[in-house]
């Protein structure tokens, strides 16, 4: 995959199983968000295939792509709520577009989803009237409203306080257990990665390829790549070059 003519990552290959929480790890600028854009059908990868249950997304017809996308739920980094609509209208929109739910049921469903993310009572607020963390949770409610089989979360806990972040992790785990949905989480929040990740991939910005596969906990114990260890332990990178430099500085 590349951004314009600049190569971002190559040889990215992984498989997300049903009911799994798959984490995409990596430092800033390593291509996590670009990978997400490939996966949710916003950006065509310059080489390779992305398959959903055997169906190649980018080789499918437009109708097939639409049908596939309807099974996704995506939480964007900033929530991506429609600013001209209230939270209620934002969450209700997918229901109005794709289901036959009548107004009373729509109301019940929207209240339920907003309740799941702890935002009941905020139906009539506009996105500009609530905080960033609340916008994010409302975005999650919108992503969840059609009970997606595959949920993509872009930096779900970034910008949240520790308590909300913890609650969001619990919610993600419970959603997975309750629905059996697969969840792909793009994140560099360590506590949250360790709490929820069943499997994962580590994208490295320097070598421009994934350097480790496995759950964050597994990588912490078993992966001895210095950059992976540095990331997961929040330590400076200890490869030969920097180490020498540190010694010299002393």
């Amino acid at each position: 995959m590349s951004f314009g003519r600049r190569l971002i990552q190559e040889d990215v290959s992984f498989r997300v199983r049903r009911g799994e929480i798959f984490t995409v790890m990596g430092g800033s600028g390593s291509g996590k968000s670009t990978l997400l854009r490939h996966m949710i059908g916003l950006l065509r990868p310059c080489a390779g295939r992305i398959r959903y249950g055997g169906v190649d997304y980018w080789e499918s017809s437009t109708e097939q792509q639409d049908a596939l996308r309807r099974r996704f739920g995506v939480l964007f980094q900033g929530g991506a709520l429609f600013s001209a609509m209230t939270l209620y209208e934002n969450v209700a929109l997918p229901l109005q577009l794709y289901t036959e739910a009548n107004p009373v049921e729509t109301r019940a469903l929207v209240r339920f989803k907003l309740g799941l993310v702890g935002l009941r009572g905020y139906e009539e607020f506009y996105p500009s009237e609530i905080s960033g963390g609340m916008r994010k949770r409302a975005g999650l409610a919108r992503a969840l409203v059609l009970d997606p089989e595959l949920l993509f979360l872009d930096e779900p806990s970034a910008g949240l306080d520790p308590v909300s972040s913890r609650r969001l992790d619990d919610l993600i785990l419970q959603l997975r257990d309750g629905t059996g949905a697969s969840i792909v989480v793009i994140s560099h929040e360590l506590p949250s990665l360790f709490a929820i990740g069943d499997n994962g991939i580590f994208l490295d910005g320097d070598s421009k390829r994934p350097i480790a596969h496995g759950s964050p906990k597994y990588l912490l114990e078993h992966c001895d790549h210095p950059r992976v260890q540095a990331f997961l332990r929040r330590e400076p990178v200890r490869d030969a070059g920097t180490h020498d430099k540190v010694v010299q500085d002393r």
Binding site: E105, A108, L109, L114, L116, L119, E149, G178
Partner: protein, 386 residues
């Protein structure tokens, strides 16, 4: 929710249903079939809810044993029932629900904060009118104070004490001046040509075709070149100023400047106002030349006027007072347009939508301001006999 694999099947395998059964001191609502978004549930939950009649203090038990498949539609319904139970003083007996359903329900019900925070309701009309008026009155004050700050900053600049970024100032000067040449030129050629075209049709009826050159020259130099240039600059440069400053505001760049002790008026507003104050009169002169050229092109095409005759009449019709009038108008228009752009840019909100709002407001205010000031100039020029 239930098994996901079956849920996307086109038709429900078991149609949803319900029965209400009365027991001593309790009512049992037994649900059956597929309770999913795609199983044709529409209307059934309300019908079930409407059937329940209970005395306060009695309990409602919900039995989901016969439910074959479910998704969010079921907990959404149960949540609504739970709320109704609370309102009516009934006891909801959730013990018989499966564990995962109970967990989801509990999450949605308990973790929400009390719905104390309500979105503000629209205020009554009179109050809104009043608030609007006060806000506008206040914004006049703000605009005047910004003008004052610019004048003070100008004084500091003359003393050599103003803080600004030279490269940025040059860039603004270039964007406001040289980069505007093509569009200002095109619009003024066309306006000159239109004046000549409309004028020639009228003048030819009186056999006064030779006067066309006078008409085009006076109209262009006194009014059109200055006004049209200012309007183009308002849409182009004024809007750009507003967008730049509003983006900086949203990005906290202006806060960063203040924290560094740099007055934003000197750093951002002054270069922009001065750039347009200098460039607009120059663009006006350029616009005059091109407007007259546009008129000339049409005049020689439609009437048999020679180049020398046209030029002679043009020069005869104009005098330095008219240029002075046009140039001084342009100077004021330039300041006005730049002030509108900077004013709306600086007072923009901090969200993404604010940039668009600031830009629109700056352009509207710029154009309305230019036309209004032009009217004042027309009255003054008449009084002075120019």
């Amino acid at each position: 929710m239930g098994s996901q694999a079956t849920r996307l099947a086109a038709a429900a395998r078991f149609p949803p249903g319900w029965t209400v059964r009365a027991e001593t001191g309790a009512v049992v609502l037994a649900l059956s079939g597929d309770w999913t978004l795609h199983s044709g549930l529409s209307g059934i939950p309300q019908a079930a809810a409407a059937e329940i009649e209970l005395a306060p203090g009695h309990s409602l038990r919900i039995d989901t044993e016969a439910v074959t498949d479910w998704d969010s539609a079921l907990p959404a319904f149960l949540l609504a029932m739970a709320e109704r139970c609370r309102d009516q003083g009934w006891i909801l007996d959730a013990c018989s629900l499966p564990l995962n359903l109970r967990t989801v329900l509990k999450m949605a019900d308990e973790l929400s904060p009390p719905a104390s925070a309500r979105a503000p309701r629209p205020a009554p009309l009179l109050r809104r009118v009043g608030e609007h008026t006060l806000r506008h009155a206040g914004s006049v004050g703000e605009a005047v104070s910004l003008l004052g700050q610019v004048v003070l900053a100008c004084g500091r600049l003359l003393q050599g004490k103003a803080t600004y970024y030279r490269a940025d100032a040059w860039l603004v000067l270039q964007a406001a001046g040289a980069d505007a040449l093509p569009i200002v030129g095109l619009v003024n050629v066309l306006v000159g040509a239109i004046i000549a075209f409309v004028g020639s049709v009228q003048l030819l009826q009186f056999g006064a075709g030779v006067l066309l050159a006078d008409g085009v020259a006076i109209a262009t130099v006194r009014e059109m070149a200055a006004v049209i240039t200012a309007v183009v600059l308002s849409g182009r440069t004024g809007a750009a100023f507003a967008a730049q400053l509003a983006t900086m505001q949203g990005n906290e760049e202006i806060d960063a400047l203040r924290v560094m002790g740099v007055p934003e008026v000197e750093f951002l507003v002054l270069p922009r106002v001065l750039a347009l104050a200098v460039m607009t009169p120059l663009l006006y002169l350029y616009a005059c030349a091109l407007g007259i050229f546009g008129g000339f092109a049409v005049a020689t095409g439609m009437l048999d006027l020679s180049l020398t005759a046209y030029l002679e009449r043009t020069v005869g019709a104009l005098n330095s007072d008219q240029f002075l009038l046009g140039a001084s108008k342009s100077f004021v228009f330039g300041i006005l347009v730049a002030m509108c752009g900077c004013y709306y840019g600086l007072r923009a909100g901090r969200n993404a939508a604010a940039v668009g709002e600031a830009t629109t407001a700056a352009v509207v205010a710029g154009i309305v301001g230019v036309i209004s000031v032009d009217a004042v100039f027309a009255v003054c020029a008449h009084a002075l006999g120019i």
